[in-house]
Symmetry: D2
Subunit: 339 residues, 4 copies
C-alpha cells in the first residue's frame, strides 16, 4: 500500500506516519516527489489495513497497489528519479548521460589512453571492468583491485565518474570504495543475494536487464535493491536472446517507453552488448536516444583490434566522437541536451 | 556469379553479355548502378565458369558470390534501390516514406475519413487491408474487391498512393489492378508460390519480415521475387516473436543497418505491429527513423476505439500529426527530409 | 455455441436442429461422439441466443464456448478423432502411426529403394515431397506431378499410404488426386487461403505447427480446415525456433499432452525437423511416443549421404528399424501397439 | 590439451606427468577412465607445447582440444561419470535417480509428511529448498538454516539423500554441512563466484541450465566447477524461455542426447519447472526417461493446494506413485532400472 501525504505535510507528520508503520511491524519507505511525499510499505504478507493510517495528520489518501512492485512504480513517485553524481553529472535529468570506456581494464596505459579520448570527446562517465564475468573459466577475468585502482586514477586525472561491475558481496565492498556507480551485470540480474547487498551499498546501482528477463522481472530485481534502502537505481537495456543471428543480442528498445510508463527509475541503453557488432553501434545509439533513453553505456577502446575482450563491438575514439555528434543532434527533439 | 561491366560499357555490350549467359542455359539479370551495370546470373546449379564471359567486350570482372542470395545483395548493386511511384512519391530515396491508414478497410466512410486526415497531415501513401489474414476463421476477413474499389476512390480523391495486401494468387491479380504497391504479410513471407507470383506482378512489392524469420530468410524471400523479374521490392521490419511480454512483438530495429549493409533494397519499419501498443508507436517511430529506416508504415484510424481490428495499436489523427512532426525533426540528422 | 444432443437423439432430431441453425443464418457442424452428437455453430458474429434451440426435440443442453476455437475443441467431441485411411491403417487410434520416407522424391529409383526398406521394417505410411518449399529459389524445388506419380506407384507396389505436401491451391488439386493425406507445412500454417482450400479437400490433412506458432494459433489454423467441412485433421509438432543451437529447432513435446487436453484431434511428432540432427532422432522418437504422441513422421533415405535435401537429418534404413523396435517396446506403457 | 596415458600406465607415471605439467606453470587434472587415465591441462593462455610431455614414460598421446571446455568433455573421459552418494544411491549409473520433494521446506511437519510418502513410493533422494531465490523480495524466501536442520532430520528418519539449493558463498557453507548434493539454480548458472565456490565444496553439485543458456554455456558453467577440483557435477534440464505459452517453460529434452554426446557428466530432467503445469509432469517424465535421462527431479507436496510456492506444478503423492510406476516400465527399454 502507498500512503500519499498531503502537499503541505510537514517533516514531522511524515516521520509520525513512518513510526506508526514501523509499530505495525512493517517497513516504511518515504519517497519525496515534486509536489508531495509518498510512503511505500513493505514487509506485509497480507494487504495493510488503511484505517490506522488514514486518520493521521498530513495523510492525503491510502492507495492499494496491485502491481507486484511498489517502490519502483511510478504510482509511488510521479517524477523520474534523477541520480546526481556530483560535479554536474546526473543520470535521469535533462542531459543525456553517456558512459564510455573499454569492456575491461587491461592496463594503466590502456585505461588512460581510452579515458583521454572519451573525456576529450565530451563524455563525463567512464566504464571499465575490473571483475569480469566470463563464460569460460580460462578467459581473462579482470584485474580485480588493481583494476579498481587504475579506475580511481582515471577519475582523478580526467575528472570522469567511474562505473564498474561487482559480481559478488566481496566485490561490492571493493567497488563501492573506488567507484561512483556499481554495475550489476545481466547474468546477475536475478542473483538476489547480490541485489540485497547492493541495496545496502552507499553508491547508485546500474542494473542491467538479463538476456531473458521480462520487464516485470527487471522491475522486481530493482525492487530488491530499493527494498533494502538504496533508491538510486539506473536500469539498462542491453539486448535479449532471440533466434535472430544478425546481431549477438536483439536490442529491445521498446522497453524504454515501457519503463517510463511504469517506473520512475531512469533507463539507459547499451548498444555495444545490444548488438555485439561495432558497425551497428552508432545507428542503434541514435535509435536509443530517439526512443527516449536517459543515456547510453558504450564500449570504446583506443585500439579495438587489440582488446582482450569484446573488441568486435568496441568503437574506436573517432567513431565515438561521431556517435556523440549525432545523438547531440537528436537530443533536442526529445527536449534534452548533451552534457 | 556477378558480371561487373566497365563504367563505359555500351548498351550493346551489356546485351551481348546477357545473350551469352542465356546461351549457356542460365538467366541474366542486368541491374544498372550509378557508375556501372552489374549482371547477376541465376539458374545455375554449379558455379559458373567465368572464362566464357571475362573476354567479352565491356566486361570489367567476374565476381563469385558466396552468399545464398545474389540479386538482392549490395555486391550486385551498390546504390540503394529507389522505388518511384510517380507524382514525386518514392521509397528508398532522400525523402522518408510514410504509409498510413487503417488496419482494414471497413467502409467507404471510414476509409475516406481516415484518408482525409492522413493526407492533411502530409502523408502521401495510404494503407488499408481488403484481404485480411486473421488468426480465427470467424474474424472479419476484409471487404475483398469492394475494399479495393474503395481504396481506388481514396487514391482519386486524395491523391494518395495505395498499399494493400495480397494473400494468394487470385488476390495478387486483383491488387495489382487497383493498388500502387502489393503488400505481402509476415505470415506469408515464406509462401513461395505467392512470392513467385508477386515476382511476375507489375507493381512493387512490400515484403514484411516473418515473426520468426532470420535476416537471411528475409533476403532469400525477396530473392524469390527478384528472381522472377520484379526488382522493385521494399523490405519491412514489423517485430519478431520473443518471450518479452510488454509488447505484442519485439521490434528489431538492428535489422535496419543490417539490411543496409547487405542489400540494396530499401527497408521501412512498422511500429504498429512491431509494438502492438498505441502508446509506444511514436517513440518507436522516432527510433526507426533514427536507426536509418527509409520510412514507416503506421496504422491510423479516425476513431481507433471503433476499429474492427487492431484498434489498440492504431493512432488517432492527432497522434499521427505529432509523429510526423517528430520524425521530421530527426530526419535531417540522417540527411533526409519529409515529403 | 455448442448444442449437445441427448444420448438417444435420433437422426431426424439432429437434422432438424441443423436446419433451424441454418434458418438463423449460421452454419451447423454436427460431430458424432461415442455417446452423443454435438453440433457446433459457426458464422455468428455475436453470441447465439440459445432459446430457439433448447426447446427442440432431442436437445440436451446449449453450451456457450469461451475458447476462440470451437470445432477442434474437446468440449465439442470427447473422444479423440481416429482418421481411418483404409486397409487397417489409422491415425489417432490404439496403434502408433509411423510415416517414413525421404524429404523429397528425387527419382523413381530413390523412392522405390527407400519404400522397400521402410515397408519391410513395418511402416504403413510413406512420406516424400513432390512440392518442396525451399528457403532459396535456387534450391531443388521438387519433381511436382512427376513426383506424385512416383508416389502413386510406390503405393501400388508396396501397399503404403502416401503423405505428401501441398503448397498452394493448384498443388492441393494434384495432391488430393494422388495421395492419401495432404500435408501442410510449417511455413504455410497460417496461409489461410491454403487452409480453406484444404478444408474443402476430400483427403485428411496433416497440419504442421509453424516454427513460431503458439498452441492456440495451431488450433485456430486447424479450425480453418474444419470450419470448411473437412474434419479429418492430424496435428504435428516439428520443433519451434528458439535461441538453442544444439539442434536445428527445439522439439516442444509438451504440446502433445497440451493438445490432448484441449482438442480431439490426433497429434504426431516429427523428430527429423524437430532436431535436424540424425543422431538425435531415435532418442526423441522414443520421447515423443512416451509423451503420448499418436505417431511419428520420420525422414528415412536409403542413402542419407546422397540426399538432395535434409540428408543430415535422415535416418538410414537400419537406424529406422532400430527406431521401430524401440518405440514398439515403449508403446505398451501407453496402452498402444505398433501396427 | 589432453594427455592420454597408456592403458598400462602406472600410478607413478601418472604422478610424474602431473608434476611436469605443474612445473610448466599449469594445472593438471587426472581423470581415471575405464581403460586408461586422461590428464586435462588448464591454466594455459596459449596452446601447450606437447613435446615436453610426449616423451615421458606411460604417455600414449597428446590431443589438442578445440572445444572451449576440457574437463567436462567426453574426449577427456569416455565413460559417463557415476556420482555415488553412498547406501546404494548413485546418479549416472544403471539405476534411474529420482529426486522428489516440495519446492520449499515450509515446516517440519510438511517436510516429514511429504518425505514419508516419497520414501514409501520408492524414491531415495529428497529435495526441498531452504534458500529460495524468488522473483519478488516480498515472497517467502525460505527457512534458511532451520530448513536445513529439518532436511537433516528427514535424512535420518527416512534414509533419504538430501538435495538442496545454495544461492551464495555463505549458503554453500551451510548446505555442504547438511546436504548430500548442493543444487545451483537456473538463475545462478552464470554466477561465476558461486560456481567457483561450489568447485571447492566437498559435495557433488546439481547444476541447472539457465532458462536462456545454450548447451555450450551450460557445459562451460560446469567447467568452472570442475576446474576448481570438484569433478562431481550433475547437469539438469529444467526448461528454456520461449514464446510458447501453453507451458511455463519449454522443456528441451533434446539436450539429453546432446549432453551425452559431448560430455561425460550425468544429466537429469526437471519436468516440474520444465512445464510449470502439474497435469503435464507425468507425460514429460516418461518422455525424459525415454530420451535417456539419468534421472528426474520432481516437485511433490503432500498437499499441493496448500504449498507456499509452486503448488500448481507439484504432484500429490498418488500422482508421484503413478509417475514412478510408468517410468519404471520404460526404463528397461533403455537398459536401466528403478532403484
Amino acid at each position: 500500500m502507498l500512503v500519499m501525504m498531503k502537499a503541505n505535510a510537514t517533516r514531522e507528520e511524515i516521520d509520525a506516519v513512518c513510526r506508526r508503520i514501523e509499530s505495525m511491524g512493517y517497513k516504511p519507505h518515504p519517497i519525496p516527489g515534486s509536489t508531495r511525499t509518498a510512503i511505500g510499505i513493505t514487509g506485509n504478507r497480507e494487504p495493510v489495513e488503511p484505517v490506522a493510517l488514514e486518520s493521521l495528520p498530513g495523510v492525503g489518501e491510502c492507495v492499494p497497489v496491485s502491481k507486484p512492485y511498489k517502490l519502483v512504480g511510478r504510482e509511488l513517485k510521479e517524477d523520474t528519479t534523477v541520480i546526481d553524481l556530483g560535479d554536474g553529472v546526473a543520470i535521469g535529468g535533462r542531459q543525456l548521460a553517456v558512459i564510455a570506456g573499454p569492456c575491461a581494464v587491461e592496463s594503466r596505459e590502456q585505461a588512460r589512453l581510452t579515458a583521454a579520448r572519451v573525456a576529450a570527446a565530451g563524455a563525463r562517465l567512464f566504464r571499465g571492468g575490473a571483475y569480469k564475468p566470463r563464460t569460460s573459466p580460462y578467459s581473462f577475468q579482470g584485474l580485480a583491485r588493481e583494476g579498481l585502482e587504475i579506475l580511481a586514477e582515471v577519475r582523478e586525472e580526467f575528472g570522469l565518474k567511474i562505473v564498474t561491475e561487482a559480481i559478488d558481496a566481496e566485490s561490492v565492498e571493493e567497488v563501492e570504495r573506488y567507484a561512483d556507480v556499481i554495475q550489476i551485470g545481466a547474468r546477475n540480474m536475478q542473483n538476489f543475494s547480490l541485489l540485497k547487498r547492493a541495496g545496502r551499498a552507499r553508491r547508485p546501482v546500474l542494473l542491467k536487464r538479463g538476456n531473458a528477463a521480462t520487464l516485470d522481472e527487471l522491475l522486481m530485481a530493482a525492487e530488491y535493491i530499493l527494498s533494502e534502502g538504496n533508491y538510486r537505481v539506473i536500469l539498462c537495456e542491453r539486448g535479449i536472446r532471440t533466434f535472430a543471428d544478425h546481431t549477438r543480442n536483439t536490442l529491445d528498445l521498446s522497453v524504454v517507453p515501457a519503463v517510463q510508463q511504469l517506473s520512475h527509475l531512469p533507463i539507459i541503453v547499451d548498444p555495444s552488448h545490444g548488438t555485439g557488432r561495432r558497425e551497428k553501434v552508432i545507428a542503434m545509439s541514435r535509435a536509443a536516444v530517439a526512443a527516449g533513453a536517459d543515456g547510453l553505456i558504450v564500449e570504446v577502446h583506443h585500439h579495438p583490434e587489440q582488446a582482450l575482450s569484446d573488441g568486435n563491438q568496441s568503437l574506436d575514439p573517432a567513431e565515438f566522437e561521431q556517435l556523440l555528434r549525432e545523438i547531440g543532434q537528436i537530443a533536442p527533439v526529445l527536449g534534452r541536451s548533451m552534457a
